[in-house]
């Protein structure tokens, strides 16, 4: 059961081949036996999971089961879950039991899904390797000496290892797409505002977006339909109807216009990654798509702009962790300033402190125009690059990351780590959707093909990805780790 897609599991549940309780028990057993080697979960919520599974089985017995009823999944530990520790990968929130549910947690629960627990992540979603977690790094199931990517590294590793068929992630600069690529699974970052951010601990509010990570594009379509939609509790969620994301899965590719951004195939791209991506593009050509080169001329300004905008927003968002209302508080504070300063110094890790310092510095008097205003101007130029490209082509394709998963400990220098996100970060600045799908291997490590569309083109992206998966088997490959005997 552990290597099936959500779609296959839904069929099994509805045919009565197994119950949600049996499925949940099987996967909880695998997590118990195998996750010690991966560290993909921060909290496993076995008891509430079994209760939810029983409720789902009862709903099915009553003939009320919807398409997601009884399906297990995991939640990145950035989503508030009532009564369950929500740590965001940080010592700051190690003792934080959320008093309410995030909107997507509520929606997925109402749809009858069963959450098995909370997955590991870079602290406050700041990182590209999952090495910045207070709970320790996550191993890549394809190769335990490699990182799973980040920041949704636990979610990606858990899905790849067959511990859970799907997991929720968040993506501020590539945190769904890059770990999906590194772990050989499918991950979708929706359009900014498509999914409510309510109850999702904020990192950079103008960039953050939640999305599904699963074993196929069809599974991501199923999940996005349940997650998306306007939410009165998030004023940036978009008041726009939710289309049927399954409706375009079978749309033919004949006549699809694909653009390859020349900037995404330049210096620094690993030759094996490039070869896999170009081969994937050839599959599309063989299915009737046309391919041409396009240019996104401001690509190389995306990382500099991001490292002004995201830390600026983070420095503001993370000011709420003050040792007063929730989270870590230092011992025996002498006065209020001491309470703030020591609680925050003890609660936050190194990378979070770096970003708070950068953000505070660039927003401070005398620096604001040169950094923040400039970065926001560049952000507009970056978005315009994409809008111009989508005048000429339907979707853009390229690598999700310039390299396959790198070794644990390989990127000690923060700037070299930041540069890993060259192909994903501009997408968040522009607010457009993107998906990463498995497209081969570089050695023993997976390669992700990234497909980008214009704002609200999720249904099209999912269809384009699904058609690839109907004609290739990369998404069906499983790491040796997933075998119980390993």
């Amino acid at each position: 059961m552990h290597d099936k897609t959500l779609t296959e599991l839904a069929t099994g549940l509805s045919a009565g081949e197994f119950s949600s309780r049996e499925l949940t028990q099987e996967l909880l057993g695998r997590i118990d036996r195998l996750d010690g080697r991966l560290n993909s979960f921060i909290s496993v919520t076995a008891k509430p999971a079994l209760s939810a599974a029983d409720r789902a089985d009862a709903t099915r017995a009553d003939g009320q089961a919807g398409p997601l009823n009884g399906l297990p999944l995991a939640l990145k530990d950035i989503f508030c879950t009532r009564g369950v520790r929500t740590s965001c990968g940080s010592r700051m929130l190690d003792n934080f039991v959320a008093p309410y549910d995030a909107t997507i947690v509520e929606k997925l629960s109402e749809a009858g899904t069963v959450s098995l627990g909370k997955t590991n992540m870079d602290e406050f979603a700041m990182g590209s390797s999952n090495e910045n977690s207070f709970y320790g790094p996550v191993k890549n199931p394809w190769d335990p000496s490699a990182v799973p990517g980040g920041s949704s590294g636990g979610s990606a590793a858990a899905v790849a290892a067959g511990l859970v068929p799907a997991a929720m992630g968040t993506d501020t600069g590539g945190s769904i797409r890059q770990p999906a690529a590194f772990c050989g699974i499918t991950g979708l970052k929706p359009t900014y505002g498509r999914v409510s951010r309510y109850g999702m601990i904020a990192y950079a509010s103008s960039l953050d977006q939640a999305g599904p990570m699963a074993r196929s594009a069809a599974d991501c379509a199923l999940l996005l339909g349940a997650m998306a939609g306007h939410d009165g509790r998030d004023s940036t969620s978009v008041a726009r109807g939710v289309p049927d994301y399954q409706s375009e899965l079978d749309a033919p590719l004949n006549g699809l216009k694909i653009g390859l951004p020349v900037e995404y195939f330049g210096d620094g791209l690993d030759p094996a990654v490039e070869a896999a991506v170009r081969e994937a593009v050839q599959v599309y050509e063989s299915l009737g798509a046309t391919v041409r080169e396009v240019s996104l001329p401001h690509t190389h300004y995306a990382i500099p702009a991001y490292y002004v905008i995201a830390p600026a927003e983070a420095s503001s968002n993370l000011s709420r962790f003050d040792g007063v209302r929730f989270g870590h508080r230092c011992e025996a504070p002498t006065d209020l300033i001491d309470l703030y300063k020591r609680s925050r110094a003890e609660g936050f890790g190194d990378e979070v402190k770096r970003r708070i310092l950068i953000g505070t510095h660039t927003l401070s008097e005398g620096f604001f125009d040169a950094y923040y205003k400039k970065a926001q101007q560049v952000r507009r130029l970056i978005r315009q690059d994409f809008l111009d490209a989508f005048e000429e082509v339907d979707v853009l394709m390229g690598p999700a990351s310039p390299t396959p998963a790198f070794d644990l400990g390989a990127n000690k220098d923060p700037v070299s780590m930041y540069l890993q996100d060259i192909y994903t970060i501009a997408v968040n600045l522009a607010g457009i959707p993107g998906i990463s799908v498995p497209a081969g291997f570089a050695g023993n490590r997976p390669v992700g093909l990234q497909i980008l569309g214009t704002h609200f083109a999720e249904a099209q992206l999912l269809g384009v990805a699904h058609q690839f998966q109907q004609n290739t088997d990369w998404h069906l490959r499983r790491p040796a780790f997933a075998e119980e005997s390993a």
């Binding site: 300004y301 500099p304 420095s315 508080r329 006065d335 300063k341 510095h361 950094y371 700037v415 704002h455």
Partner: protein, 95 residues
């Protein structure tokens, strides 16, 4: 624009982040290299470009001024480090 040791300490104080001299030296090097990378932005001519705050150019949505939340103070204070009579406790601020 280079960053100085004093800038790091100033930012740390503004952010209410406890940092001693040694920590500041440790971060100075990293922050210097990050800002050097960020400084590539300065080479781009952005004259006349309107800063972009929101990817969809949305504006703040308003709602009717009606009470929609119920009082859950006790529930929300369960995760607080120190409370008394519904109030959050901090070291004495006013003598």
């Amino acid at each position: 624009m280079a960053i100085e040791h004093a800038d790091v300490l100033r930012a740390a104080h503004l952010a209410r982040l406890g940092l001693d001299e040694g920590d500041a030296t440790h971060y100075l090097d990293d922050l210097g290299r990050i800002l050097e990378m960020v400084d590539q932005l300065q080479s781009l001519d952005t004259e006349g470009v309107t800063p972009m705050a929101h990817p969809l150019d949305a504006t703040q949505r308003l709602r009717a001024d009606e009470v929609t939340e119920t009082d859950q103070r006790d529930h929300f204070q369960q995760c607080a480090p120190a409370v008394e009579n519904g109030l959050y406790l901090v070291p004495r601020v006013v003598e």
